[in-house]
C-alpha cells in the first residue's frame, strides 16, 4: 500500500470495475472480430453496432436458474467460480498502470498501481497457481465425468506450461535484476525487452495462450471431447463467472506481457493507463486472431509442444541471458 488504506480501497474498486467493464466489452470485440474473420457481421442487433450485446447477455445470465446437480458437493460446487474469479482479478493489484499521477485541479498525487513489493512477480505467479483450484474444484465438485476430465486436463495443461512460462519470465527478471513490476517497467525506458528477450517473448506468448486456456490450446473445454470441460454442469451467473475468470486471466496475461516485454505503461504523448490499455488490447487482438485462424491441437501435441519445444527453448534463452548479463 503506497497511498494509505482508504485511497487503496478506492483504487482497488475502480480497477476492479474498469476491469469488469473492459472484460464485458472485450467479449463484444471478440465476437465482432471473429465474425469479421469469418466473413460475417457478428453481433449487430442490440443497440448501435451491437454495442449493448454484453448488457443483454448479462440480463440473460441473471435470469437463469441457479441449479445444482443432485450428486454435486454443494459447498465446493458453489465456491469454485468465486475462487476462479477472485484469483483472476487479484493479480491485477500488482500490475502498474503508470508511476505517479496528479489528480487534475488539485495537488493530490496518487500512484497508478495498488501495491509494489520486492516479490510482485512471484505473488502474481502464486495467485495464478491458486486460480487452478477454481477449475479443479469446479470439475471435481460437479460430480460429472466430463467436468472431471476437463478439470484434470486443465490441471495437466497448466502445470506443464507453468514451467516454460516461468523460465521465459526469468530471462526478463535477470535482465532487470528485479521482481518488482514497477522497476521492470521503468528499466525498459530506452529499449523494450521484446528485442533482447525475443526468444523468451515467443515462449512466453505461446505459454500464455496455453495458460489462459484459449484456442488453439482450449483442450479443457474441447466441445467434441469433454462437452464443455470443467464448467459442463454450471449454468447462469455461475457459468458466467467461470467465463469471466477465463477471459480476465487472458487480460492479466496480456497485461503481464505488456509490462514484461513492451515497456508497460511507458510511451509518448498519451498517459500511462491508456498505453497499458493499448498494449493489452494489442495482445488480446492477436489472441482473438489466433483463435480465428488455428485449429485445436491434440493432447499429445500439446504436451509435446510444452515439454519438448518450449522448455528447452526457454532454458536456452535463460542461459544466453545469464551469460550476456554477466559478460557484456
Amino acid at each position: 500500500m503506497v497511498d494509505g488504506v482508504i485511497i487503496t480501497v478506492i483504487k482497488s474498486l475502480v480497477l476492479a470495475s474498469v476491469l469488469m467493464g473492459f472484460f464485458a466489452y472485450m467479449t463484444w470485440v471478440e465476437r465482432k472480430l471473429i465474425g469479421r474473420f469469418q466473413a460475417r457481421y457478428g453481433p449487430n442487433r442490440v443497440g448501435p453496432y451491437g454495442l449493448m450485446q454484453p448488457i443483454a447477455d448479462l440480463g440473460k445470465m441473471l435470469q437463469k436458474e441457479n441449479m445444482i446437480p443432485e450428486m454435486a458437493h454443494r459447498k465446493l460446487y458453489i465456491a469454485a467460480p468465486f475462487i476462479a474469479m477472485t484469483c483472476a482479478i487479484g493479480a491485477f493489484g500488482l500490475l502498474p498502470f503508470g508511476n505517479v499521477a496528479t489528480i487534475p485541479g488539485t495537488d493530490w498525487t496518487i500512484h497508478l498501481y495498488i501495491a509494489d513489493t520486492s516479490v510482485s512477480l512471484l505473488v502474481v505467479a502464486a495467485i495464478g497457481s491458486l486460480g487452478f483450484y477454481g477449475l479443479m474444484i469446479g470439475g471435481w465438485a460437479s460430480s460429472s465425468k466430463y467436468a472431471l476430465l476437463g478439470g484434470m486436463r486443465a490441471i495437466a495443461q497448466l502445470v506443464s506450461y507453468e514451467v516454460a512460462f516461468t523460465l521465459a519470465v526469468i530471462g526478463v527478471i535477470i535482465q532487470a535484476s528485479s521482481l518488482s513490476f514497477v522497476t521492470i517497467a521503468n528499466a525498459q525506458e530506452h529499449l523494450w525487452y521484446i528485442i533482447p528477450q525475443f526468444l523468451g517473448f515467443l515462449v512466453f506468448f505461446v505459454a500464455a495462450v496455453a495458460e489462459s486456456n484459449r484456442p488453439p490450446f482450449d483442450l479443457t473445454e474441447a466441445d467434441g471431447e469433454v462437452v464443455a470441460g470443467y464448467h459442463t454442469e454450471y449454468g447462469g451467473m455461475r457459468y458466467a463467472m467461470f467465463a469471466a475468470a477465463e477471459f480476465i486471466n487472458a487480460i492479466t496475461l496480456s497485461a503481464l506481457g505488456a509490462v514484461l516485454f513492451l515497456g508497460g505503461p511507458s510511451g509518448p504523448f498519451l498517459p500511462g493507463p491508456i498505453w497499458m490499455m493499448l498494449k493489452i488490447g494489442a495482445f488480446l487482438f492477436v489472441l482473438i486472431w489466433i483463435r480465428a485462424t488455428l485449429p485445436r491441437v491434440r493432447f499429445d501435441q500439446l504436451m509435446k509442444i510444452g515439454w519438448k519445444v518450449l522448455l528447452p527453448v526457454a532454458t536456452l534463452n535463460l542461459l544466453l541471458t545469464a551469460v550476456a548479463v554477466v559478460y557484456l
Binding site: H73, L76, T117, S118, V119, L122, V123, A125, A126, G128, S129, L130, F132, Y133, M136, I137, G139, W140, S143, L148, G151, M152, I155, A156, V159, E162, L179
Partner: protein
C-alpha cells in the same frame, strides 16, 4: 494491524489443520491442507520473509497440492471413508504421540524464554538476500539439493514410462521357461498387436 493478521492467520492455520484430519472426504482434507499452507504463508509475511511466503504458495499450493488433488480426484474414493477401521490401540497410540509433541512444544516455548519478534532489516527475507545466501554461504548444500532433485526427476521419468521392455529370443525363452512359455508369449504378443491396431484405427477415426 500485525496483531490482527497474526491472530486471524493463526486461527485459520489451527482450524484448517484440524479439518485436515477431521474431514472424512479426502478431497476436502487436501483443500484444508491447502488453506493451512496459505495461513502459514501469511504468518511468514509477518516475519519479513516475503520470498519464502511467495515460494510456499507457488511450490506447495501451486505444484504439490495440485498433484495430491489430481491423484485423489482420479483414484480416490468419491464418497466418505468408512469409520470401521478404528482400532483402540491405534487411537491410544495417536493420542500418546500428540501428547508427546504437545509436551515438547510446551518445554521449548517456556524453556527458550521467547521474547518479542527480533527486529531485522526490511530486506532480510528479500529474494536478493536469499539468492545471495544460496550462492555464497550455502553453495554446496544448494548444489547437492539440485543434484538430488535432478536425480528424482530422472527417476520419475524412468519409473513413469515403465522402463524399456526386454526382448528375449526364442532360444532364450526356451532355455529359461520351456515349450509352453513360447506359445504363451506368441499369443500375448499377437493380442497386444491386435489391441494396438484397434486403438490406432480408433484414433484416426476420431
Amino acid at each position: 494491524m500485525d496483531i490482527v493478521v497474526f491472530f486471524v492467520a493463526s486461527g485459520c492455520a489451527i482450524a484448517s489443520a484440524i479439518a485436515v484430519v477431521a474431514q472424512k472426504n479426502p478431497f476436502v482434507s487436501a483443500l484444508a491442507l491447502l488453506a493451512n499452507l496459505a495461513s502459514l504463508a501469511a504468518l511468514m509475511l509477518l516475519l519479513e520473509a516475503q520470498f519464502v511466503a511467495a515460494a510456499q504458495i507457488i511450490v506447495y499450493a501451486g505444484a504439490v497440492m495440485v498433484m495430491f488433488l489430481f491423484v485423489i480426484a482420479y483414484v480416490g474414493p468419491r464418497g466418505e471413508i468408512g469409520g470401521g477401521v478404528r482400532k483402540p490401540w491405534l487411537v491410544a497410540l495417536s493420542v500418546f504421540a500428540a501428547l508427546l509433541i504437545a509436551v515438547e512444544v510446551i518445554v521449548v516455548v517456556f524453556g527458550a524464554s521467547l521474547g518479542a519478534v527480533a527486529s531485522v532489516d526490511t530486506d532480510y527475507g528479500s529474494p536478493a538476500a536469499i539468492g545471495k545466501a544460496l550462492v555464497t554461504d550455502y553453495l554446496l548444500a544448494f548444489e547437492v539439493v539440485s543434484v538430488i532433485l535432478f536425480m528424482a526427476a530422472v527417476a520419475g521419468v524412468v519409473f513413469g514410462t515403465g522402463g524399456r521392455p526386454v526382448r528375449l529370443s526364442t532360444e532364450q525363452v526356451l532355455a529359461k521357461e520351456g515349450e509352453s512359455a513360447v506359445a504363451r508369449r506368441r499369443e500375448a504378443s499377437r493380442a497386444a498387436l491386435d489391441a494396438a491396431r484397434d486403438s490406432t484405427t480408433g484414433e484416426s477415426a476420431r
